[in-house]
Symmetry: C2
């Protein structure tokens, strides 16, 4: 670690404050994109155990797009099933239902995964460090100042944010002044950045209080390894399977006068200890036995409100993300997921602006997209929490929807797959019907195709990494058919014309900006990858077939799944973050040009 | 590296001579099993490029059982399709057929993978080094001596093999005398160990000669990324896709007087250079264009006969494996595969004997199983080579089987999945009908089940790692059915009785020797994992269901695939190397006891 000299002034393109999931996702994405980025954190060491743990299907897809999902899938606990228990007629608890924990039919990974927050963070550390970026620890900002000079604010090359940094691990009062182009405050629920900028939180005052306990239990409870919601005469508990044989219990304490003073609603710290939490849990599990093996791995009393920041950015120069923007109950396991997806949304936009490819206005779409999401999330969280923390459903109280219905209704949220961004500069919905099932503004639907050159089965997600490029997917018909081939050739010629968006916004070397893929409807016996015009196959792996593999195990049905007529074809533009930005028929290439013209800087090549 | 002192004498349980694929597979397996093992190699550094490259489906399964397949699958080239080209009517070549490159319907990975030999070896290096084992390089044996004292040879605790080692990288004539319990000669086709022990090779004198060229080509040939066999008027070539955009061409030179003197059959070294090889390849590819981009990655002239060693062991104390035992043409890509599978077969047997669990006689099954395999392989190789190197099929010469038929016929070999070990102490076939499709002596058939506790879909291969344990799979009926449950309970009681094989051969802690799994026929809605008697579920993950996952994407049909009647059930014993050792009905537990009694040492626990 370098010493901070009081006279040091430095420059950086992006300064990230806070190295939790939100900050690290951004730092890794920017480092991978070659952006000049720095990340600091006040903590001397990373999270060793506990805190957030649930990873949703969509977040797994996102991590996979950065090449980080494999260790998570290997090490984490998976729970594809949810289970519901209610008070039994003779005391104790009885199972009332089991459902899939995820209903979203298009989820590539149709289950939740848990892994302690430090384990998730270490995925990013490993990847960042390979690119030479380390978290600078024991460092806090003490002042932040945004230039008021309009021309500076509008100049993408200017460094209008001045942040003063202080080292906590040095005796002297060493400070450093950093001049940044952009700053991200990813400094958690009590965000210093948010507070100092005067951004208000909106939402409930009523905080809910949870005891959280990570333990290795001995139990004869049959549904331990499921996502289990228990309502009992003795309280409410959520049972979360964890990596290895670990378990997490979320125990609602808000109503428990033993832990919480009913008047002040303050936690009685003296009474709150893991043995007491375990005791409460054991009562809830009755008649099943529950004992703790050894010491608890981690525990906390976790007080949380449902709040959203009024805004996520100041002048599109300083942003906040993650818990700094929104906090919610842990019931639906949103914390880490929403946080990482915030900065996943932001990172490519920063990269495009910093490279001079996109206009500063692109950054407005961050708040536009993520603030709406956060508000919807809080709404969902309220309904969801009510459903699971309300009075147990009894024979007398049978109205309200069932757990299964709730899971189905809310699956878009609990899987993260249902996020839909509204129309904006980067979401153009006018030609939706030409790919009816690929909802513009939602994430690209995963599907298995085969590579035409080697008939290797690949999920289309795997050929669309988060590499800051727009993916231009040309859905061609059966190019073995002469008429279809002629249409595709004509399209390729138009795409390669100097006025095409590929060249206009190609920034001198369009392969850096656009990744072009061609998906053909023909069969592997008919279509050779070299049949496809060269423009549509920058590499042999870029031609896919909507057909099964050599053994009929996987693949096929992609055009139908996407609602694309193979005769007509379609062009699908997928944003660098994996969301469908636009779909268009072959005849409306100029509309795609207009789309890119709305936020990109023209520089042909 | 340590200096070898002339006075040094040392002891080791297993000394491995040669750190190619055969030696490394053994070293890694033994190190993982905690065996005292040492591995030396004469080379100062590992293989950097080239040499063998083809990995068969069965070898991928084996690597996966050691946790090593993932990087290979990620980095290697896959080729699920084979393609055949013959001379065209007007010169040039025309495609005559395309087929799956692997027909074996049960292959978990139904394709071939290529990766340069050094890349494969590095999988083992990484894994071994994590266990503290490094290859001792620049070291050769100069003498090997086996004790003639019968009592010593028969004493599993004795170190009857004396090997003198010499360092090649030291000035002084440092030598070390190693006293080993067992020695493995995995020192390649020109094996010093084999020669010094006087083990003869049997087989052809006619060597075939191949030019091998690893290049990045520029070509419009449509089938580059397939396993492609080309017969042309200008010669014969095999086209192998390699990692990234690399290609390997095997060019048959035996008939080419430009490279090989027709009288002496010696390679004309002066003429053999990569440009000449490329020139020959380009002629064969006509009318398609072929150019080399940059320098070749690797090339060689590879002279190879089809030979098998007379025996694979001396007194079951010194063994040979890999190319030291058998050499064959590269046409079917067997080299590395047969070699790694030799020592995969040997490693667990050594571990069991060294731990005092099994009788020395267990080691006899190594030669019994692998010598027969090697002979069959050479037979196959002869037929296969003839098929692909014989005169091109013409209209006049239409007899002989087609390529597709050949691929189907030989798929057991070319996939490695068809290996079947004959009846022996560790292969007991008497109760075959009770699991009619799980052929005793063949590798366990992979299949997807769901874990009863969490409904996570798992391939049964993934819960049967190569950890030196015998897997005892109890196929139970639907334990939600009372009668079925009663039968399973009775079986569990018998298994847990003091006279049961589990306890008799359990070596004081049977979980170290036997991994017990229970596979139930019931549905996930009916069966809870705790319904299964405790004896059959040492861990919650050990109860599997023959049902689909929560989304109906995977799983189900396992009893049918294995030919097991769910009403009757069956017990399947899978050897530590993944081969089915025995199947038996519930009523014949004592036959399983006899099976283990045939090679294991009794020590109850
Ligand atoms: C004690 C605790 C327990 C939790 N328990 C749960 C749980 O049981 N279940 C659940 O779902 N979620 C839980 N959460 C919430 C969950 O951790 C967050 O939702 C998630 O981590 C959000 O990620 P983030 O990156 O936005 O914020 P955080 O993970 O909070 O990361 C913020 C980072 O910023 C750093 N930081 C803060 N202030 C400064 C500053 N002034 N200068 C420099 N660095 C700063 C912090 O050290 C931290 O590393 C818990 C959080 C905490 C703090
Ligand atoms: C130059 C070359 C080219 C090849 N090309 C191909 C190809 O194109 N396609 C193909 O399928 N196969 C090819 N092979 C064969 C392939 O490499 C083998 O089938 C495969 O590696 C067998 O593995 P192995 O471990 O049995 O032997 P090897 O990989 O040969 O390993 C033997 C090891 O023992 C070491 N050794 C040898 N003698 C001693 C000694 N006296 N003391 C200590 N160490 C010793 C060697 O250095 C080597 O590391 C080639 C082999 C060679 C040598």
């Amino acid at each position: 670690m370098t010493t901070l000299n009081p006279l040091i002034e430095s420059k950086v393109d992006v300064l990230i404050i806070g190295a939790g999931p939100a900050g690290l996702m951004c730092a890794n994405a920017l480092a991978s994109a070659g952006v000049d980025v720095r990340i600091i954190d006040k903590r001397a060491v990373g999270v060793a155990a506990g805190q957030a743990d649930g990873i949703q299907p969509r977040t797994i897809e996102v991590l996979q797009s950065y090449g980080l999902a494999e260790p998570l899938i290997r090490i984490g606990a998976h729970f594809p099933r949810a289970s519901f228990w209610n008070p039994g007629p003779n005391g104790g608890i009885v199972r009332t239902q089991r459902t899939p924990s995820i209903f979203s039919p298009t989820a590539r990974y149709p289950y939740l995964i848990t892994r302690h927050q430090g384990g998730i963070e270490s995925l990013f550390h490993g990847s960042m460090e390979a690119k030479g970026l380390h978290v600078q620890r024991s460092t806090i900002p003490t002042a932040i100042q945004l230039s008021q000079v309009e021309s500076e604010l509008r100049d993408p090359k200017a460094n209008p944010v001045k942040v003063t940094l202080k080292r906590l691990d040095l005796e002297e009062d060493d400070i450093e002044v950093v001049h940044a182009k952009f700053v991200l405050g990813a400094d958690g629920a009590h965000s210093w950045v948010r507070n100092v900028l005067g951004i208000k939180l909106e939402g409930d005052n009523t905080d809910s209080i949870w005891g959280v306990l990570d333990v290795y239990p001995e139990t004869d409870f049959p549904d331990s390894r499921n996502w289990t919601f228990i309502h009992s005469h003795n309280g409410t508990l959520m049972n979360i399977p964890r990596e290895g044989d670990m378990m997490r219990y979320y125990i609602q304490l808000s109503e428990d006068p033993d832990f919480v003073d009913p008047k002040t609603r303050r936690v009685n710290k003296a009474r709150a200890n893991p043995d007491r939490l375990m005791e409460t849990a054991a009562k809830i599990f009755q008649p099943y036995s529950l004992k703790m093996l050894g010491e608890p791995e981690w525990w906390t009393i976790y007080v949380i409100g449902q709040r959203v920041a009024q805004k996520f950015s100041i002048e599109d120069r300083i942003f906040i993300a993650g818990d700094a923007c929104h906090t919610h109950s842990p019931k639906a396991g949103q914390g880490m997921n929403a946080s990482m997806n915030d900065s996943h949304n932001l990172a490519w936009k920063l990269a495009h602006v910093l490279r001079g490819w996109a206009d500063l206005s692109l950054l407005k779409t961050y708040e536009f997209e993520r603030l709406k999401f956060a508000r919807d999330l809080i709404d969902f969280d309220r309904k969801w929490s009510k459903l699971f923390t309300g009075k147990p459903r009894t024979e007398a109280n049978e109205d309200g929807i069932s757990h299964e219905e709730a899971f189905q209704t809310f699956s878009g949220f609990s899987s993260g797959v249902g996020v839909r961004y509204e129309a904006s500069a980067i979401v153009a919905k006018q030609h939706q019907p030409c790919a009816a099932k690929l909802v513009v503004g939602e994430r690209m639907i995963p599907h298995v195709f085969v590579q035409a050159a080697d008939i290797r089965a690949v999920n289309i997600h795997d050929v669309m990494p988060s590499d800051t490029r727009f993916k231009v997917l040309v859905f061609a018909g059966n190019v073995a058919d002469k008429a279809a081939l002629a249409r595709v050739r004509a399209l390729a010629d138009k795409l390669d014309a100097p006025k095409s968006f590929v060249h206009r916004y190609g920034q001198g070397d369009y392969h850096k900006v656009f990744d072009i893929l061609c998906i053909c409807a023909g069969s592997k016996d008919e279509v050779d990858f070299i049949d496809v015009p060269q423009m549509l196959r920058p590499h042999w792996s870029k031609v896919l077939l909507d057909d099964t593999d050599m053994h009929g195990r996987e693949g096929g049905g992609g055009f139908a799944a996407y609602g694309i007529d193979p005769k007509a074809g379609a062009i699908v533009v997928v944003r660098p973050d994996g969301y469908v930005g636009m779909v268009a028929p072959y005849e409306r290439l100029e509309d795609i040009s207009t789309y890119f013209g709305g936020f990109m800087v023209e520089k042909s090549g």
